[in-house]
């Protein structure tokens, strides 16, 4: 291989490295990059440089913070465009019950939370489609209905970017919501009840969390 050919190959590999790093490379191009990384002493240094670019680009993007009230403004714009929402049925009732539960003393709240959870499950059983309601119940999909979850309300001044970052870092997923009162249904990636308690405690400790009610917990040894 001539020097010119070698340079040309390196140019091509350098061009593909960002796509190797983001996991989108496949087929012959993926094989070529892997072979280059395995055989060219300069390749690993080049990979390190691309990784630095990756970090720098992520930092530059994440320095831009979307406004905290973006979702609520969008919801209003959507309602204006799509017309008034369907008349609330169980949703508002559920949301208001959530509000009452979170205002209770802790001991009373646990009992009420259990009742609320049961009602959510009944709703999900009776309305398996989960469509047409502002509140997405756990039974919208069969698998989802089996996952550990918690009901969470975020503070009004919470920044969406902070919430999204926290959810992403902890593998939490929004499975439903928000209701008109801002209640979200989060699935909790816990395999044991201890995991579940730790994660729910972590959510509750976040400055953007207004209230958290425990939902389904994993059954230890089950």
């Amino acid at each position: 291989m001539s020097a010119a050919e070698k340079m040309s190959r390196r140019d091509e590999m350098e061009t593909l490295l960002p796509f190797y790093l983001n996991g989108s490379l496949e087929g012959a191009e993926l094989e070529a990059v892997e072979e280059w990384l395995a055989t060219d002493p300069a390749a690993l240094a080049a990979l390190g440089e691309a990784e630095a670019e990756f970090s720098g680009t992520a930092a530059a993007n994440e320095a831009i913070r979307p406004p905290a009230d973006a979702l609520s403004r969008f919801a209003r714009a959507l309602d204006a465009q799509a017309g008034p929402a369907r008349a609330p049925t169980g949703q508002s009732w559920l949301a208001s019950l959530f509000g009452r539960v979170t205002a209770m003393p802790a001991g009373v709240a646990w009992a009420a939370a259990a009742a609320l959870l049961a009602l959510v499950l009944v709703q999900s059983f009776e309305r398996p489609s989960g469509k047409g309601n502002d509140f997405e119940v756990a039974g919208a999909q069969d698998d989802l209905a089996k996952l550990p979850f918690a009901l969470v309300k975020f503070k009004q001044d919470a920044r969406m970017a902070d919430i999204a970052a926290f959810l992403g870092q902890n593998g939490l997923k929004i499975a439903g919501g928000p209701t008109a009162d801002g209640v979200f249904h989060l699935t909790i990636p816990a395999e044991t009840s201890a995991d579940y308690d730790r994660i729910v405690g972590l959510i509750a400790a976040q400055p953007f969390a207004d209230a958290v009610i425990q939902g389904r917990k994993p059954v230890d040894g089950g």
């Binding site: 390196r10 140019d11 350098e14 061009t15 593909l16 490295l17 960002p18 796509f19 790093l21 983001n22 996991g23 989108s24 490379l25 300069a42 240094a45 080049a46 440089e49 630095a52 670019e53 990756f54 970090s55 720098g56 680009t57 992520a58 930092a59 530059a60 993007n61 831009i64 979307p66 406004p67 973006a70 979702l71 969008f74 919801a75 714009a77 959507l78 309602d79 465009q81 799509a82 469509k131 047409g132 309601n133 502002d134 509140f135 997405e136 919208a140 999909q141 069969d142 698998d143 989802l144 996952l147 969406m160 970017a161 999204a164 499975a175 439903g176 919501g177 928000p178 699935t187 990636p189």
Partner: protein, 188 residues
Amino acid sequence: MNAATETDRALVDRVAKGDRAAVRLLFMRHHARIYRFVARQTGSEMMADDIANEVFLELWKQAPSFEGRSEVSTWLLGIARFKALSMLRKKKEDWIDDDDAAQVPDSADTPEVVTMKEDKAAALRRFVDALPEEHRTVIDLAYYHGQSVTEIGEVLDIPVATVKTRMFYARKKLGEALKAAGYDRGWP
């Protein structure tokens, strides 16, 4: 499908049937990235705010015609790109000239002094920001948005070969800027 991560496509199907909760979930998943993409395209967070909102209203309207040929994220970025370009045209704002934008941002400091003031990571971030728009966009789409060569071509409506050419020159310019600042990475 993992139900805990109901796919974007499944959510778009729900949106197509008029499910507002589904469009709000998609908003939660994608808004920040769309907002950042437009902010970096236009240089204006005010425009980004307006356009990102419009993108999701467009999603609401166009969901029934979404054919699933591309990922939802790619589709949304394409809508955002189109809307950003339209708004910029309306405002008669010209794209940044490549030659001007390729330079390090204005500074009275020599490269050596700048180097003393910042570490390599900070320098790199500054150089990414200073890339010409067409080069910075492919860098953003690949590194931050995780888009493939083909997907970037779809978002920007350019051939795959052009995506690769822009990526090549973008990385080459970053290498040159780093070298000028005293960080020789051996390529180009």
